[in-house]
């Protein structure tokens, strides 16, 4: 294909602004997919059930379309879908790096939101040509003039360039394709003779063909006979197949510079074909990889334990399978005296954690105990050594610590002005600094905060949503590791320290959080046959204590001939309930108690 007739583009949008519906419509008007196929499956690009349910795209996808433009020429249009959530910012940036243009979709009933901006900035960083689109103009609540003005203002474009569409009804969507052809440049520097350089912007695992790498070829060509080298991981492989998505996988003879498609690598794990890596020829490697590769490091950690200890092996298998398709999920076996055998898992963010947990529960039928999430801390020891810890319990003795650093995030919030006070209050309690306030229009403001990730992982998003009745939107990105006066609060249940309950907090908050935590624990722990003291301890000093009073009365008043079976079943049920709890020394703790930390901000 002559690269002059190729256009590679993405659709970017805030969640729920109609990105997937628009993608479906584009596939339909280009005849890539027959319209009746849409009836059974609402959105084709979101192939996982969970994605459809959550209304977000988790894995990027890439579809080749052919469309006859106004000049009478048929163009190859490669639509590269991007994940819709900020936890996958790196994947989004790689998908955008594979494009020359981006269709920016804004909901005509909502206007510009936090992720609209975040995605737009990413697109601009990648020098993409922006095609602005206002969607949902069919809705009664659409305010086309206002939102058109807002988008034109944001992009510094004339209002006439903003295309107003209804993806749902198919109104005006061909205008988008024409704008893509007109404004998005064809791939440049597409030298087919040069050694192969292809950017991996996504991947999935196929049990027959191994890892399928989604690639954009910058230079060179690839056929199924080209031995390949992954430049970052050094993995070598003979491809099984090359092809394009239409949207099903369709093998082709070759992929050339400028094109988008897939290489079925035959590799066994997605870790050997990282997103962002450059694929080159093994026999004639490129001298330099494409820029922008980085190994994605998990920032949020939580432990997953099977509810029943017997299910440990099942959980391990499930994680293994999940990791086949999710290179950013990490897990290592972990033992806890309270929860026994499980895994410490690393996630890109909270949303990623939710998705993994839900998939384990739903697709793999795992019954899980998930501990409160924590972040990766950098600890500088007095001997100069620097370590990273992923569990609060692993924070070494304070006397050996020179400095503890925690990740800080930059957070952008767009909120209607009426909720400004509520938003500021939420962030004030999260140790946040307000960096900037910008007025977007007379109704909404854009607030830029910086706040420790540890403060965000608990419930920031939920609180923000509920305090603003769902009107605020948020986006965040890692900023830097910063030292602070951080201490570990240990929780002692009946004098024994419980590793899974330790938290790391700012020293100024140690007392408040520690006493709140043990009060929540007290509510969650049933009364036992003896009094159970629960203590919060910092550096060997008890800072707060509560007691779970001894159980005084637990006996069936009546037990006569009529109800022996029934009473026995009651006792058996009681006994079975107890078995599901975790035994810690003499104390029996229900699984909910391990989540007490998640409710620390409720009061």
């Amino acid at each position: 294909m002559d690269s002059r007739y190729i256009r590679n583009f993405s659709i970017i949008a805030h969640i729920d602004h109609g990105k997937s519906t628009l993608a479906d419509r584009l596939l339909e008007v280009t005849g890539t997919v027959e319209s009746r196929k849409f009836s059974s499956q609402s959105q084709l690009l979101d192939s996982m059930a969970l994605e459809q349910e959550k209304g977000v795209t988790i894995k990027a996808s890439a579809v080749q379309m052919h469309w006859k433009a106004a000049d009478g020429m048929t163009y190859e249009l490669n639509l590269i879908d991007t994940p819709g959530h900020v936890d996958f910012a790196y994947e989004v940036s790689r998908a955008l790096a594979a494009c020359e243009g981006a269709v920016l979709v804004v909901d005509a009933t909502q206007g510009v939101e936090a992720q609209t901006l975040a995605n737009l900035y990413l697109a601009l960083e990648n020098d993409l040509e922006i095609v602005p689109v206002i969607n949902k103009i069919d809705l009664a609540t659409a305010d086309v003039p206002r939102v058109t003005h807002e988008v034109a203002e944001l992009l510094g474009m004339p209002q006439e360039d903003v295309i107003a569409v209804s993806a749902k009804e198919g109104t005006n969507v061909e205008a988008i394709l024409q704008a893509v052809v007109d404004h998005v440049p064809p791939p440049s520097g597409a030298d087919e003779a040069a050694p192969l350089r292809a950017l991996i912007f996504d991947s999935h695992y196929d049990s027959y063909k191994g890892v399928i790498a989604y690639v954009r070829l910058q230079e060179g060509r690839v056929t199924r006979d080209t031995p390949l080298l992954m430049m970052a991981t050094d993995a070598k492989t003979e491809p099984v197949e090359v092809g394009v998505f239409t949207p099903d996988m369709q093998p082709v003879e070759q992929l050339c510079a400028g094109e988008v498609g897939y290489i079925a690598t035959g590799l066994k794990t997605v870790r050997e074909a990282h997103v962002g890596d450059t694929v080159t020829e093994a026999r004639r490697p490129a001298s330099e990889p494409l820029p922008g590769y980085r190994a994605v490091k998990p920032m949020v950690f939580a432990s997953l334990y099977p509810s029943e200890a017997d299910d440990y092996a099942n959980l391990r298998d499930a994680l293994e399978k999940l990791q086949l398709n999710d290179a950013s999920l990490t897990y290592i076996p972990e033992t806890s005296q309270a929860l026994q055998f499980g895994f410490r898992c690393g996630f890109l963010g909270l949303f990623h954690m939710d998705i993994v947990q839900e998939r384990l529960e739903r697709e793999y039928n795992q019954d899980l105990v998930v501990t409160a999430p924590s972040v990766a801390y950098q600890v500088v020891l007095t001997n100069g050594e620097e370590i990273e810890i992923h569990r609060p319990a692993d924070l070494p003795d304070p006397s050996t610590i020179q400095e503890v650093r925690e990740p800080w995030m930059k957070v952008q919030v767009i909120t209607p002005t009426e909720y400004l006070g509520a938003v500021m209050e939420i962030f004030r309690r999260k140790r946040a600094n307000l960096l900037m306030t910008e007025t977007l229009d007379n109704l909404r403001v854009l607030l830029t905060f910086e706040t420790p990730l540890a403060e965000m992982v608990i419930d920031l998003h939920d609180r923000l949503k509920s305090a603003t009745r769902g009107y605020a939107s948020m986006d965040y990105a890692f900023d830097s590791y910063r030292p602070d006066d951080l201490v570990k609060v240990d929780v002692l249940v009946n004098k024994d320290s419980v590793d899974a309950l330790a938290i790391i907090v700012h020293r100024d908050m140690a007392y408040d959080k520690g006493s709140l935590l043990i009060r929540k624990m007290k509510e969650a722990i049933p009364r036992q046959l003896f009094e159970v003291p629960i203590q919060a301890v910092v550096g060997g000093k008890v800072i707060a204590r509560v007691n779970v009073q001894a159980l005084r009365k637990d006996v069936l008043a009546k037990c006569y001939g009529g109800d022996i079976t029934r009473k026995r079943k009651l006792l058996e049920k009681q006994k079975a309930g107890k078995k599901r709890m975790k035994q810690l020394g003499n104390v029996i703790i229900p699984q909910e108690a391990f989540l007490a930390m998640l409710r620390l901000d409720e009061d």
């Binding site: 159980l551 005084r552 006996v555 026995r568």
Partner: protein, 397 residues
Amino acid sequence: MDVALYIHVPFCLRRCTYCDFNTYAGLLDLRLAYIAALERELSLLAARHGRLRITTVYCGGGTPSLLGEAVADVLRTVQAQFTLADAAEITLEANPGTVDATLLGAWRAAGVNRLSLGVQSACANELALLGRIHTWKEVVEAVTLARRAGFDNLSLDLMFGLPGQTLAHWEHTLAQVLALAPEHLSLYALTLEEGTTLAAQVAAGVAPLPDPDLAADMYEAASDILCAAGFWQYEISNWARGLSMPLTIWSLPPGGQTESIGPWASRHNLAYWRNQSWLGVGAGAHSSWGGRRWHNLLHPDAYIHLLERGEWPVAEEEHIPPALVQGETMMLGLRLAEGVTAADFRERFGAELAEVYAPIIARLMEAGLLEWDGGRARLSVRGRLLGNQVFATFLPE
């Protein structure tokens, strides 16, 4: 073969707010048909089991006193179909709002020798909360009339741990009840059963949620007061006047067996707690016989219907495997102050209690819930209040 016989009478004038037994208000019209069905069921039992020797009869409900003088007819059928032991204990449950001198005299004449009155409280507000149909004054009258009719074995039921009930209210009720000089007392802690009016009221916040610690205080207060009044606690919820004074609360009966306290412990209920055989007749009545337990159809209509056709009215039957029989024997026997002796266990199961339950006994003793002297296992004073924790451990996994 000796056996205890239970007769269920499911009729009530009104359902009490806490009640989740197999009882029905508004079905009194079925009374005659029901009595006929009871008589049929008794004949079926006699035909199947032969002429059993009945040592105790317990007519419970519901409100058996609503059968009126027909109680005598039912007892006559029992006598006709079985051999009633000479000293058989024959108990009738009665609501104090449903008795008069004539009825009491008729029952006594028919052979009823133990009357169990549902009193529940001496406080008007509590009686109202519980939905009782009688007043405290009617309780006093019923007791007076019963004594006059010749009842010398009188049991009164009380409830504690009620929504809004204070320790002072409870002590008042106990004092009032002791003044009536009963032979026997049953003290039941309220359990809010799902589906009852009272549970719904508590859930809706109309009635306050009872505090379990206060209920424990009430129980302990009652233990002290009744001990001082000469009552022996022979089961978790039951006290009987003794021939001698108990030395302390929850004393081991002087001869090691409940019977040695005196003649007023409920012999019928002892059969349950000792996990002996019994037969039950009537709607929803349970039976336990030869390693099997079954119960009848719950609804009086269905029960009557089947018996009219001459069929067994059994709804469900359960086989109790030997390991479970042992566990249930512990669950039931440990409710008694006499506990379970190694000798009885050996005689019944051919096994050593100490061996079968060695780790459990050690653990419970360490927790201070069980006493074990090598020959007898019984709940400790504290264990009485935590019986479920003990019983559950004896049930097989």
